[in-house]
Protein backbone atom coordinates (compact mmCIF):
# COMPACT_ATOMS: atom_id res chain seq x y z
CA UNK A 1 0.00 0.00 0.00
CA UNK A 2 1.57 3.29 -0.95
CA UNK A 3 0.04 6.65 -0.43
CA UNK A 4 -1.64 8.44 -3.19
CA UNK A 5 -0.30 11.89 -3.86
CA UNK A 6 -0.67 13.90 -0.70
CA UNK A 7 -3.30 16.25 -1.99
CA UNK A 8 -4.11 17.61 1.41
CA UNK A 9 -1.89 20.14 3.08
CA UNK A 10 -2.27 19.00 6.64
CA UNK A 11 -0.12 21.74 8.09
CA UNK A 12 -2.38 24.25 6.40
CA UNK A 13 -5.46 22.43 7.64
CA UNK A 14 -4.29 22.48 11.21
CA UNK A 15 -3.16 26.08 11.00
CA UNK A 16 -6.52 27.15 9.65
CA UNK A 17 -8.11 25.55 12.65
CA UNK A 18 -6.09 28.00 14.70
CA UNK A 19 -3.70 25.37 15.98
CA UNK A 20 0.01 24.82 15.73
CA UNK A 21 0.95 22.10 13.28
CA UNK A 22 2.77 19.88 15.73
CA UNK A 23 3.97 16.41 14.84
CA UNK A 24 1.13 14.85 16.86
CA UNK A 25 -1.64 16.89 15.31
CA UNK A 26 -0.30 16.36 11.81
CA UNK A 27 -0.05 12.67 12.41
CA UNK A 28 -3.62 12.48 13.69
CA UNK A 29 -4.92 14.68 10.89
CA UNK A 30 -3.31 12.33 8.40
CA UNK A 31 -4.91 9.30 10.01
CA UNK A 32 -8.27 10.98 10.02
CA UNK A 33 -8.44 12.71 6.69
CA UNK A 34 -6.08 10.96 4.33
CA UNK A 35 -8.30 8.06 3.49
CA UNK A 36 -11.69 9.65 3.43
CA UNK A 37 -14.69 9.21 5.67
CA UNK A 38 -14.10 7.63 9.00
CA UNK A 39 -15.91 7.09 12.27
CA UNK A 40 -13.43 6.63 15.04
CA UNK A 41 -13.30 6.59 18.80
CA UNK A 42 -10.44 8.18 20.69
CA UNK A 43 -9.29 4.74 21.75
CA UNK A 44 -9.18 3.51 18.15
CA UNK A 45 -7.21 6.48 16.94
CA UNK A 46 -4.84 6.10 19.81
CA UNK A 47 -3.97 2.46 19.24
CA UNK A 48 -3.76 3.14 15.53
CA UNK A 49 -1.23 5.87 16.16
CA UNK A 50 0.81 3.53 18.32
CA UNK A 51 0.81 0.94 15.57
CA UNK A 52 2.23 3.48 13.17
CA UNK A 53 5.31 4.19 15.17
CA UNK A 54 4.19 7.65 16.21
CA UNK A 55 3.01 7.21 19.73
CA UNK A 56 0.56 9.98 20.52
CA UNK A 57 -0.65 9.95 24.09
CA UNK A 58 -4.32 9.28 24.73
CA UNK A 59 -4.73 12.66 26.40
CA UNK A 60 -3.42 14.35 23.29
CA UNK A 61 -5.73 12.29 21.11
CA UNK A 62 -8.68 13.54 23.13
CA UNK A 63 -7.43 17.10 23.10
CA UNK A 64 -6.89 17.02 19.38
CA UNK A 65 -10.23 15.41 18.59
CA UNK A 66 -12.00 18.11 20.55
CA UNK A 67 -9.98 20.89 19.01
CA UNK A 68 -10.72 19.57 15.54
CA UNK A 69 -14.40 19.24 16.45
CA UNK A 70 -14.52 22.82 17.70
CA UNK A 71 -12.81 23.95 14.53
CA UNK A 72 -15.48 22.20 12.49
CA UNK A 73 -13.21 19.56 11.03
CA UNK A 74 -14.98 16.75 12.86
CA UNK A 75 -18.43 16.00 14.15
CA UNK A 76 -18.85 14.24 17.46
CA UNK A 77 -21.62 11.73 17.86
CA UNK A 78 -22.89 9.56 20.63
CA UNK A 79 -24.53 6.25 19.93
CA UNK A 80 -24.11 4.57 23.26
CA UNK A 81 -23.66 5.99 26.71
CA UNK A 82 -20.02 6.35 27.48
CA UNK A 83 -18.60 6.24 24.00
CA UNK A 84 -18.09 9.06 21.54
CA UNK A 85 -17.40 8.61 17.87
CA UNK A 86 -15.84 11.28 15.74
CA UNK A 87 -16.98 11.54 12.16
CA UNK A 88 -14.73 13.06 9.52
CA UNK A 89 -17.75 13.82 7.39
CA UNK A 90 -19.15 17.11 8.60
CA UNK A 91 -21.70 17.63 5.86
CA UNK A 92 -25.43 17.11 6.43
CA UNK A 93 -26.03 13.40 6.76
CA UNK A 94 -27.22 10.82 9.22
CA UNK A 95 -26.18 7.42 10.51
CA UNK A 96 -26.83 3.75 10.35
CA UNK A 97 -25.66 2.04 13.48
CA UNK A 98 -25.12 -1.72 13.55
CA UNK A 99 -25.84 -2.68 17.10
CA UNK A 100 -24.17 -6.05 16.76
CA UNK A 101 -20.84 -4.96 15.38
CA UNK A 102 -20.76 -1.40 16.65
CA UNK A 103 -20.15 -0.22 13.09
CA UNK A 104 -21.35 3.18 12.09
CA UNK A 105 -22.12 4.05 8.48
CA UNK A 106 -23.13 7.29 6.83
CA UNK A 107 -26.55 7.82 5.30
CA UNK A 108 -26.64 10.60 2.72
CA UNK A 109 -28.64 13.52 4.03
CA UNK A 110 -31.10 13.36 1.18
CA UNK A 111 -32.03 9.75 1.87
CA UNK A 112 -33.86 10.86 4.95
CA UNK A 113 -36.32 13.67 4.97
CA UNK A 114 -37.56 15.61 7.90
CA UNK A 115 -41.12 16.71 7.49
CA UNK A 116 -42.94 19.15 9.74
CA UNK A 117 -40.86 20.19 12.65
CA UNK A 118 -42.62 21.19 15.81
CA UNK A 119 -42.76 24.86 16.65
CA UNK A 120 -39.79 25.99 18.68
CA UNK A 121 -39.90 28.28 21.68
CA UNK A 122 -39.08 31.94 21.07
CA UNK A 123 -35.45 32.57 20.35
CA UNK A 124 -34.70 28.91 19.96
CA UNK A 125 -32.87 27.72 16.93
CA UNK A 126 -31.94 24.30 15.67
CA UNK A 127 -28.26 23.64 15.99
CA UNK A 128 -28.32 20.15 14.55
CA UNK A 129 -30.55 17.19 13.89
CA UNK A 130 -29.09 13.81 14.67
CA UNK A 131 -30.74 10.79 13.18
CA UNK A 132 -29.48 7.37 14.12
CA UNK A 133 -31.06 4.35 12.51
CA UNK A 134 -30.31 1.41 14.76
CA UNK A 135 -30.05 -1.90 13.01
CA UNK A 136 -29.83 -5.38 14.46
CA UNK A 137 -29.01 -8.78 12.98
CA UNK A 138 -26.80 -7.29 10.39
CA UNK A 139 -23.03 -7.38 10.39
CA UNK A 140 -22.70 -4.36 8.19
CA UNK A 141 -20.91 -6.32 5.48
CA UNK A 142 -23.93 -7.03 3.27
Amino acid sequence: MHNAVEAIDFAELVRKAGLRPTRQRLSLARQLFLNGDRHVTAEQLHSESLGQGFGVSLATVYNTLHQFTTAGLLRELVVDAGRSYFDTNVSAHHHLYFEDSGELRDVPGDNVTIGDLPALPDGAEISRVDIIIRVKNGDGTS
Copy 2:
Protein backbone atom coordinates in the same frame (compact mmCIF):
# COMPACT_ATOMS: atom_id res chain seq x y z
CA MET B 1 -50.56 13.64 31.55
CA HIS B 2 -53.35 11.21 31.98
CA ASN B 3 -53.14 10.03 35.54
CA ALA B 4 -54.17 12.57 38.09
CA VAL B 5 -55.86 9.82 40.06
CA GLU B 6 -53.96 6.65 40.83
CA ALA B 7 -55.52 4.63 38.08
CA ILE B 8 -52.45 2.48 37.62
CA ASP B 9 -51.95 -0.76 39.46
CA PHE B 10 -48.22 -0.54 39.96
CA ALA B 11 -47.89 -3.97 41.51
CA GLU B 12 -49.57 -5.40 38.47
CA LEU B 13 -47.36 -3.37 36.17
CA VAL B 14 -44.20 -4.61 37.83
CA ARG B 15 -45.43 -8.18 37.94
CA LYS B 16 -46.25 -8.11 34.26
CA ALA B 17 -42.68 -7.07 33.61
CA GLY B 18 -41.70 -10.36 35.22
CA LEU B 19 -40.41 -8.71 38.36
CA ARG B 20 -41.33 -8.93 42.01
CA PRO B 21 -43.27 -5.93 43.24
CA THR B 22 -40.84 -4.86 45.91
CA ARG B 23 -41.17 -1.66 47.84
CA GLN B 24 -38.30 -0.11 45.86
CA ARG B 25 -39.64 -0.99 42.45
CA LEU B 26 -43.15 0.12 43.32
CA SER B 27 -41.81 3.39 44.62
CA LEU B 28 -39.80 4.00 41.46
CA ALA B 29 -42.66 2.94 39.21
CA ARG B 30 -44.86 5.46 40.98
CA GLN B 31 -42.33 8.23 40.49
CA LEU B 32 -41.97 7.36 36.85
CA PHE B 33 -45.48 6.66 35.74
CA LEU B 34 -47.84 8.44 38.08
CA ASN B 35 -47.53 11.86 36.57
CA GLY B 36 -47.23 11.09 32.92
CA ASP B 37 -44.36 11.54 30.52
CA ARG B 38 -40.99 12.02 32.02
CA HIS B 39 -37.37 12.05 30.94
CA VAL B 40 -35.14 11.23 33.85
CA THR B 41 -31.58 10.28 34.57
CA ALA B 42 -30.74 7.67 37.18
CA GLU B 43 -29.24 10.38 39.34
CA GLN B 44 -32.41 12.46 39.20
CA LEU B 45 -34.63 9.57 40.10
CA HIS B 46 -32.32 8.64 42.91
CA SER B 47 -32.26 12.03 44.59
CA GLU B 48 -35.99 12.32 44.04
CA SER B 49 -36.52 9.05 45.85
CA LEU B 50 -34.39 10.24 48.73
CA GLY B 51 -36.46 13.39 48.98
CA GLN B 52 -39.60 11.33 49.31
CA GLY B 53 -38.48 9.48 52.37
CA PHE B 54 -38.00 6.20 50.56
CA GLY B 55 -34.31 5.94 50.08
CA VAL B 56 -33.64 3.65 47.17
CA SER B 57 -29.97 3.00 46.55
CA LEU B 58 -28.44 4.24 43.34
CA ALA B 59 -27.48 0.72 42.30
CA THR B 60 -31.10 -0.32 42.63
CA VAL B 61 -32.23 2.68 40.65
CA TYR B 62 -29.94 1.61 37.82
CA ASN B 63 -31.02 -2.00 38.07
CA THR B 64 -34.66 -1.06 38.04
CA LEU B 65 -34.34 1.36 35.15
CA HIS B 66 -32.67 -1.29 33.06
CA GLN B 67 -35.17 -3.95 34.03
CA PHE B 68 -38.04 -1.63 33.12
CA THR B 69 -36.32 -0.79 29.87
CA THR B 70 -35.87 -4.46 29.00
CA ALA B 71 -39.50 -5.06 29.85
CA GLY B 72 -40.51 -2.32 27.44
CA LEU B 73 -41.79 0.09 30.06
CA LEU B 74 -39.07 2.61 29.39
CA ARG B 75 -36.92 3.72 26.51
CA GLU B 76 -33.33 4.63 27.08
CA LEU B 77 -31.79 7.46 25.18
CA VAL B 78 -28.41 9.06 25.00
CA VAL B 79 -28.05 12.71 24.16
CA ASP B 80 -24.62 13.40 25.51
CA ALA B 81 -21.67 11.14 26.10
CA GLY B 82 -21.82 9.74 29.56
CA ARG B 83 -25.43 10.42 30.37
CA SER B 84 -28.47 8.28 29.77
CA TYR B 85 -32.03 9.50 29.99
CA PHE B 86 -34.97 7.20 30.45
CA ASP B 87 -38.20 8.12 28.75
CA THR B 88 -41.53 6.90 30.08
CA ASN B 89 -43.07 7.38 26.68
CA VAL B 90 -42.33 4.26 24.68
CA SER B 91 -44.51 5.01 21.69
CA ALA B 92 -43.04 6.15 18.38
CA HIS B 93 -41.82 9.67 18.79
CA HIS B 94 -38.64 11.71 18.72
CA HIS B 95 -36.93 14.36 20.79
CA LEU B 96 -36.19 18.00 21.10
CA TYR B 97 -33.09 18.58 23.17
CA PHE B 98 -32.38 21.98 24.65
CA GLU B 99 -28.62 22.15 24.80
CA ASP B 100 -28.62 25.06 27.20
CA SER B 101 -30.88 23.67 29.86
CA GLY B 102 -30.41 19.99 29.22
CA GLU B 103 -34.18 19.61 28.95
CA LEU B 104 -35.58 16.94 26.74
CA ARG B 105 -39.05 17.20 25.20
CA ASP B 106 -41.08 14.78 23.16
CA VAL B 107 -41.91 15.40 19.51
CA PRO B 108 -44.93 13.48 18.30
CA GLY B 109 -43.86 10.80 15.85
CA ASP B 110 -46.01 12.22 13.08
CA ASN B 111 -44.37 15.64 13.24
CA VAL B 112 -41.27 14.19 11.74
CA THR B 113 -41.27 12.05 8.66
CA ILE B 114 -38.63 9.71 7.47
CA GLY B 115 -38.44 9.53 3.72
CA ASP B 116 -36.42 7.03 1.76
CA LEU B 117 -34.35 4.87 3.97
CA PRO B 118 -31.15 3.46 2.58
CA ALA B 119 -31.13 -0.21 1.65
CA LEU B 120 -30.10 -2.42 4.52
CA PRO B 121 -27.72 -5.37 4.33
CA ASP B 122 -29.30 -8.82 4.09
CA GLY B 123 -30.85 -9.98 7.29
CA ALA B 124 -30.60 -6.59 8.85
CA GLU B 125 -33.62 -5.05 10.41
CA ILE B 126 -34.29 -1.68 11.95
CA SER B 127 -34.63 -1.89 15.68
CA ARG B 128 -35.24 1.78 16.24
CA VAL B 129 -34.77 5.20 14.75
CA ASP B 130 -33.64 7.89 17.11
CA ILE B 131 -34.09 11.46 16.05
CA ILE B 132 -32.75 14.18 18.26
CA ILE B 133 -33.33 17.77 17.28
CA ARG B 134 -30.74 19.82 19.10
CA VAL B 135 -31.79 23.33 19.94
CA LYS B 136 -29.75 26.22 21.27
CA ASN B 137 -30.67 29.62 22.69
CA GLY B 138 -33.93 28.34 23.99
CA ASP B 139 -34.77 27.74 27.61
CA GLY B 140 -37.43 25.18 26.85
CA THR B 141 -40.14 27.14 28.62
CA SER B 142 -41.92 28.41 25.53
